[in-house]
Every structure is written in C-alpha cells, then in structure tokens.
C-alpha cells in the first residue's frame, strides 16, 4: 500500500461489523488495485478498522504455513480474527498471546488494526471476520478511550435520517452496552 493512501480507520462495534449490507471496490489514487469498502447496517463505510477488545482464544489452524484464528470480544459481541503468512507481525504476536492465554487462563486485552472480510456460507449466511494486520497488548485505559470513541462515532451514525427505525432502535440498545 502506498504511504499516501492512509484513510482514517472506522470505529465500529462488533455488532456492526457482523451486519454488513453492501460491499464495493473503490479506486485508490495512484494504485492499480482498489480498496474494498463495506457498508454496515448503520450505514458506516468501512475499509480499515481499529478495535480494542478482549482476545479470548487463539489457535493455529495452518497446515504448511501458520494461520492463526482467534476469537475477539467487545461489550457488544464476539467476532473471529485471522492472521496468516501475509500478516507476519500479527501472526507472531497472536502466537505469543496463545501461550499467555494458556498459562494464565485469562483473556488478553489487545488492540487490532485490520480489514474486514466477508464469507458467504452454503446456506446464504454472511460471516464477517477481521484480517488482522497488527495486534498489540494494551491496558484498560486504552480500551476505555477506544470505547469513548466508538460511542461518539456510533451516536453520530444514529443521527442519520436514512437509518430505518428498527436499526436505530437496535443500536440504541447496543449503545447502552458500551
């Protein structure tokens, strides 16, 4: 990725990440590839995400190369994150956290930087996961600051008149969990 293209990362709740209603390819100035832009049911446009949440479990499901699959949870729900051979820094840190979780029996608070990815199952369900590029351990002070940002951003999204009444109502309840 060229250093010029550095869009602001979305501050989403896990619940929003799991409810993607649209996706499109957006061109990047100066590059041949485009960026995948997802739209959540709260009408947020997402390419990069940042989240600070609890890492519950990590497993290496790779065969010839490492492929880490982990479970991440914020106050609104849990989601799967992946890191494979093309995300070496994230994979290395996840390996380290796998050990830590095993030895302490407790989740690890982490910050994740990555991109959303969707997968449609045979019975038509769309599953969202995060392809993690960077994973770091952080403390609750950082998590609280992040949750403050999410609340602010979600509140702004809920003011969008194009949101259906159902979605607006659902996320008022989700907000209360933050």
């Amino acid at each position: 990725m060229s250093e010029e293209y550095n869009p602001v990362a979305a501050r989403l709740t896990v619940e929003e990440m799991k409810n993607i209603i649209d996706e499109e390819i957006v061109p990047i100035k100066g590059l041949d590839n485009g960026a995948k832009m997802f739209t959540t049911e709260t009408l947020a446009k997402v390419n990069r995400v940042i989240t600070v949440a609890a890492l519950l479990s990590v497993e290496d499901k790779g065969e010839s190369t490492p492929f880490f699959v982990a479970k991440l949870a914020d106050p609104t729900g849990s989601i799967q994150i992946n890191a494979g051979q093309y995300q070496p820094e994230a994979a290395a840190n996840l390996a380290h956290f796998e050990e830590k979780i095993a030895s302490t029996g407790m989740p690890v608070m982490v910050s994740i930087m990555g991109k959303l990815s969707t997968f449609t199952t045979d019975d038509g369900k769309t599953l969202t996961s995060i392809r993690a590029d960077k994973v770091h351990e952080v403390d609750s002070v950082n998590q609280n600051h992040f949750l403050g940002e999410v609340k602010e951003h979600l509140a702004k999204r809920l003011q969008n008149p194009e949101l259906s009444a159902d979605v607006a109502e659902k996320y008022e309840k989700v907000m209360a969990k933050l």
């Binding site: 602001v8 990362a9 930087m113 960077k134 600051h145 602010e152």
Partner: protein
C-alpha cells in the same frame, strides 16, 4: 474549442487574424494530425502568440472563490479567506515575491505570493482578505497560492490569536519506515542516504534518533515527527545508548523495533504545531495508560 474562440482570444490580445486562415489550420490539425479540438486550438493560439511575441491573457478565471475554513481546505479549490499573517520567510525561488504563514483561530497554513500577482505587500501582524487564492501543494505541503487571478485587501476581521500548537489524541497506526536511528550530515543536518549526503557527498555522519509515526484520531490521520530530545524522553534512552544498541545488534532497525513495541497500537496524546502540513512537529507526546 472553435475558430471563433481562438479568434476572440487573439483579438483580445491585440493579434489580428484572418477567420478563414484560422479555420483552415484548425481543420488541418484535427483531420490530418488527428488532434482533438482543444489541443488544436491551444497549439494555434501558442503559434500566433509566439509569432507576435506576446504572452496571451485569458479571461474567465477571475471567479469569486468559496469562503473556507483553514482545516477544511481541499486541494485544487479556489477560496476566499480572512487570515492574519503571522510569519514571513525568505523567498527561495526567484518567481516568489513573498512567502509566509497565515492563520485564524482554527489553524495556520503557508501562503505563497507569486510574481505576476497584482497584490500589495503583506506585513506581519495584519489581517488580510485573501480572495481567489488556490489551495495546492508545493513540495507536498498544502499552501495557499496567490497568483495573477487573486486579490489581497486589508480586512476588518478581528483575529485575536492564531494558535501555535494543537493537542490531538489518537491511535498510533504505524511507526514510519524512516523512524528510529539515522545518521545526519555534519554540514547541513540532512539524513544521510547510504552514508552519503545528497548535497555534500560522503561525509562522517552524526548519530541521531527520531520518531516518525502516524496517528489516527477517528477523523483524520496525522504524520507526526519527534526530534531527538522528544524521542529520547519517550524511549527513555539517549542517542549514545541507542548507538550502542545498534552496534551490539548490528541492526540499525533495532531502534525502530523498540518504538513499535513501545507505541504502535496504543493511544497517545500529542501537542503538535497547528499547521496544514504533511508532517507535524510534536513538542510533547504522552502515551495513554500502560505504566
């Protein structure tokens, strides 16, 4: 671009031409040389201008710029804005009449007054109405370009203080590749590239450490630059200690690795210069939590 347009421009510039001649030349360029009309028209205009020894003046660009806020300026737009001139620099280019910094309560930006602009000389401390100036980039830094289509007039707008610095709190998304341990040229202080200075050739470099990172506050991303002193404070090591680490590990990137471990993926609060600029110099950086 029709023959009428070409003739019109030439007339306005005092160059008389035969309608039939212009039409003939234009159609020749379009048909035989497969040029598009606009290119053909421009080529013809340049030919006539050169023959007459004149520089053409075009009309129609004296459009009123839109009023804008400093932190909302978009590249390529023509704007009108009231600003206080806070600093004036040495103009390094022969075609630049004046260059400096101007701002209002929401921030500052560099402005450049180019030769050919019919504007008064500006003075530090005064507030001016910059009318019809274009926002563009010079050496990758945004600036207001005052050119022959612009106007500068004294303004009654009261701008009390133009802030020097602003405080931002954001997530460190990356430590830049050029961050960490570097060697500088003893003559001009520029970072050396492969042991050599682009201006002074092979020199004995001076060791230095710096921190360059990208911070994302949810609304914008900022490229933050920390000098040696600030980097030493944050990393809790001196340049000499950093040099030893580089020598012991034989890895110049080891200092950057330490910065990644320390700061990447966390929130920091930084006090930075309040400027519309590609890189912002920080005077203070405080990481959140993690004691």
């Amino acid at each position: 671009m029709s023959a009428e347009y070409v003739i019109g421009i030439l007339e306005k510039n005092g160059i008389a031409v035969e309608q039939s001649e212009v039409e003939e030349k234009l159609s020749l360029m379009v048909e035989q040389f497969k040029l598009d009309e606009k290119t053909a028209g421009n080529t013809l205009l340049n030919q006539y201008a050169k023959a007459a020894g004149k520089t053409l003046v075009f009309e129609g660009s004296k459009v009123e710029g839109t009023v804008a806020e400093i932190d909302e300026l978009k590249d390529g737009t023509w704007v009108k804005v009231d600003l206080k001139v806070t600093k004036l620099f040495e103009a390094e280019h022969p075609k630049i009449v004046q260059k400096g910094v101007a701002g209002d309560e929401s921030g500052s930006i560099v402005f450049t007054i180019w030769e050919g602009a019919e504007v008064p000389v500006v003075e530090e401390g005064n507030v001016y109405s910059f009318n019809n100036v274009v926002v563009n980039k010079y050496q990758n830094n945004p600036q207001l370009s005052v050119n022959k289509n612009s106007a500068i007039t004294a303004s009654d707008a009261i701008i009390e203080t133009v802030p020097d610095t602003k405080v931002i709190t954001g997530f460190v998304t990356s430590i830049m590749r050029n961050s960490g341990f570097i060697m500088r040229c003893p003559e001009c202080n520029k970072p050396l590239k492969k042991g050599a200075c682009t201006d002074h050739g092979k020199v004995e470099g001076v060791n230095d450490i710096r921190l360059m990172m990208v911070i994302d506050d949810g609304k914008k991303t900022y490229n933050i630059n920390c000098n040696r002193k600030l980097t030493e404070e944050l990393m809790k090591i001196t340049v000499d200690e950093a040099t030893e680490i580089v020598r012991d590990t034989l890895d110049a990137g080891s200092i950057r690795d330490m910065q990644v471990a320390l700061l990447e993926g966390r929130y920091v609060t930084a006090e930075v210069m309040d400027m519309q600029s590609r890189y912002l110099n920080a005077c203070e950086v405080t990481p959140l939590g993690m004691e």
